[in-house]
């Protein structure tokens, strides 16, 4: 083969997956999200086998670094890693080590020195994983940073919805609750709008920054509605957020009682949505506060599926991320 012939070989197309880290869903393309969905489906098949294990990530080490207590998400990641044959370990930093001067950068560097290929971080301050990415070569997955983002939650929420609705495009999705402090809300706003859904945010004005509904170049377009009945009208997807009980103490709400009266997802209110509307909640659920128990245990709830899908989605993400690390 001559030099000329070699040069005319077509260049490889750019890979769909463009992330070395998973910090937020705001820069995920539709194609990347669909890649996650497809891979998740394969992972669900693995989870349906008697031996829920494949050796794809054998030799890789995943370390979870959780500065906020969370057994469920941490377990979900650990199981995901083990199901792929990776080694998983945990470092429990507590919120107090944040202020005690054990520098975040030092801790993450230590994890890398200990052999971590992937670090899964949950931190009470927005932007903490972003900062960590500048100082380590390992891949960082954000398991929730302050109010800012929780990308894996959004991806499993999206997957759960599309399993039932086959497509997210054109769906009316309503997110109800304390949007201001919710990283789950923010990441879902990005994910849902990228996949073509129409998003309405609903909550008390003190917990729902008006700026989010205004035309701007930092956030995707959403509708703001402070009245829950109007917000739920014709919804295909209803996502309720957990209300932190401290919000009343910090003066943002007059009382939990009033929040319940105005914003609890009750059976009567759910009837305003479409009859086949799905009900989601990132968990853990405050039954009787943001959502009526009958709905949690009712036919429209997909809350348990969210948890099950969480392991599969995280397996998919670890697989894709580990594969792209080699490049």
């Amino acid at each position: 083969m001559t030099t000329e012939q070699i040069k005319t070989v077509a260049p490889k197309p750019a890979p769909v997956w463009q992330h070395r880290h998973i910090l937020d869903v705001d820069d995920f393309s539709r194609e990347e999200i669909e890649l996650v969905f497809n891979t998740t489906q394969a992972m669900k098949e693995v989870l349906s086998r008697p031996i829920k294990r494949v050796p794809a990530l054998r030799g890789k080490t995943l370390i979870t670094l959780f500065y906020e207590a969370s057994t469920r998400t941490r377990l979900s990641f650990e199981l995901a890693a083990k199901n792929l044959g990776a080694d998983a370990a945990n470092l429990s930093a507590t919120a107090s080590s944040v202020t005690k001067g054990e520098s975040l950068i030092d801790t993450v560097s230590t994890l890398e020195a200990l052999g971590a290929d992937i670090v899964v971080m949950r931190h009470p301050h927005s932007g903490a994983p972003d900062i960590a990415t500048h100082y380590v070569k390992a891949s960082i997955i954000n398991a929730g940073d302050g109010w800012h983002a929780h990308p894996t939650q959004a991806l499993l929420d999206l997957y759960t919805i599309q399993e039932h609705k086959s497509t997210l495009k054109g769906l009316k999705a309503v997110i109800i609750g304390d949007i201001l402090h919710s990283r789950v809300a923010r990441s879902n706003i990005w994910g849902l709008t990228t996949m073509g859904a129409d998003v309405t945010l609903c909550g008390p004005p003190t917990l729902l920054p008006d700026e989010m509904g205004k035309q701007n170049h930092h956030l995707p377009p959403t509708n703001i509605e402070h009245n829950i009945e109007r917000a739920l009208d014709g919804a295909d997807v209803v996502m309720t957020l957990r209300l932190q009980l401290e919000r009343q103490q910090s003066g943002l709400l007059p009382s939990i009682r009033e929040y319940v009266q105005l914003y609890q997802l009750t059976e009567a209110r759910l009837k305003l949505a479409k009859p086949d509307a799905l009900v989601l909640h990132p968990g853990p659920v405050n039954e009787e506060i943001e959502i009526a128990p009958a709905i949690v245990h009712g036919p429209q709830s997909v809350i348990n599926e969210q948890v099950a899908n969480g392991v599969a989605v995280r397996m998919a993400l670890l697989y894709i991320l580990a594969g792209s690390q080699k490049q």
């Binding site: 932007g127 800012h148 205004k214």
Partner: protein, 433 residues
């Protein structure tokens, strides 16, 4: 005694005398001794070729944090003064939020003697409004005034207690010195990290709304009107504050105001990516606020530009955004970044220079010498800079211990070539001829 220095053939811009012409300047025994276009008087002197460069009075900064005493790892009077010289500043006024704070004659004497021994430029102290900066009792302003402070401030914190602020504005009238207030309603802004708006919503950071500044500005102006005292508003950043000050001046209220180079040139978007070097209080705001601030400068609503130089160690800023201290190390990039406004024709060069020389000098009065002017007999504080020289900011070259600037790696157009303080060369750039 130093040899006389001839600064030759520069474009002399001296707003105090409304001069803007090419000429030469002779400096003898620490004072401006001659100025003209032709041949200078005969004599044996050093020559500094200022051909193609701007020659102006030494820049004056009425708002700097030198961190000394108490936080010497962040900056000292010596290192801060060297940073000032690199930035073209021959006079800097240090804020009293040191440890111990500057609320007594002893503390002021410490500043003066350390500056005399170690500083390469003039350092003038600002005294506290309240004892220990506790906001509860007035400091002994008389003693502080006699010791030589140029203003009173609890900067870092607002004088939140309206009763104390009123007393301060009233009492200070006896000394004809301003009360410089850091206007922020800290109850409203508690936990705030950056400007409040869509971007803070996106980034998940608690916001510091414009209203928090406007509230205290309005309050302070009302108290200034009530007492007849002299209010100086530190680091103005909002459209609303500019409007309030405009109306107050129209009413004849005794108020002056300052704005920083970073609030004139950088927006909140610098925080994207959680860059802690862009974390400053008051925060970087929006294009709309910047537009109002520039208009405020041009309309003389805002009297001066002051850096609010706030150095921190690298370790201090190398952490989660919410935990990082506020502050930008600004002395060495002030002129370069401000020149952007001149190059974009938002501000004329003589106006810019006035805001850094003749206008601050009016606030200082003549108690510390004839400053901010190149009149014959004035202090020989001269800044020589190249308005068109492009350079890239490299914090490794900073004389300041604080490398905390969002401008690291940024290309600026306009650089200080030499800084003369009392006739001696305090700083000379490698590009000097």
């Amino acid at each position: 005694m130093n040899k006389p220095l001839l600064i030759k053939d520069g474009r002399i811009i001296d707003p105090s005398q409304k001069t803007d012409e090419v000429g030469s300047l002779l400096v003898t025994e620490g004072k401006i001794s001659w100025r003209g276009k032709g041949e200078p008087p005969k004599g044996d002197y050093d020559i500094l070729d200022a051909g193609g460069l701007i020659v102006c009075p030494g820049l004056i900064d009425l708002h700097t944090h030198l961190r000394d005493p108490g936080y010497e790892e962040k900056e000292t009077i010596a290192s801060g003064s060297r940073a000032a010289a690199r930035g073209g500043f021959t006079t800097i006024c240090c804020m009293p939020n040191t440890n111990p704070p500057l609320d007594s004659q002893t503390a002021i004497e410490y500043i003066k003697s350390t500056a005399a021994a170690k500083a390469v430029v003039r350092v003038l102290p600002i005294g506290c409004i309240s004892k220990g900066r506790n906001g509860k009792e007035l400091a002994e302003m008389g003693e502080l005034a006699a010791a030589g402070v140029i203003a009173f401030s609890d900067d870092g914190e607002p004088a939140l207690n309206s009763y104390i602020m009123r007393q301060a504005l009233d009492y200070s009238r006896a000394f004809e010195l301003p009360i410089t207030d850091h206007c922020e309603d800290t109850i409203l802004t508690e936990g705030g990290q950056m400007n409040e708006g869509v971007l803070s919503a996106k980034l998940g950071l608690r916001g510091i709304p414009n209203a928090a500044e406007d509230i205290i500005v309005a309050r302070d102006l009302a108290l200034a009107e009530l007492t007849g005292g002299w209010l100086h508003i530190a680091h103005t950043t909002t459209e609303g504050a500019v409007e309030l000050i405009r109306r107050a001046k129209e009413k004849g209220i005794n108020v002056t105001a300052e704005v920083t180079p970073h609030h004139l040139t950088l927006t909140e978007e610098r925080v994207i990516g959680y860059d802690t070097n862009a974390k400053v209080n008051p925060p970087l705001r929006t294009e709309r606020d910047i537009k109002a601030l520039i208009q405020g400068l041009n309309d003389n609503i805002i009297d001066i530009i002051a850096t609010d130089h706030a150095p921190h160690t690298e370790g201090d800023k190398l952490c989660e955004f919410a935990l990082a201290p506020f502050g930008i190390s600004g002395l060495e990039t002030a002129l370069g970044s401000l020149m952007r406004l001149v190059h974009n024709q938002k501000l004329s060069l003589p106006t810019l220079i006035a805001k850094l020389t003749s206008e601050p000098s009016k606030i200082l009065g003549n108690r510390h010498g004839q400053l901010g002017t190149l009149a014959i007999g004035a202090e020989a504080d001269v800044t020589i800079f190249d308005p068109d020289l492009e350079w890239v900011v490299d914090t490794k070259d900073f004389a300041s211990k604080g490398k905390n600037t969002p401008l690291d790696g940024e290309k600026l157009k306009g650089k200080v070539i030499a800084t003369i303080y009392q006739g001696k060369t305090a700083y000379k750039d490698a590009a000097a001829k």
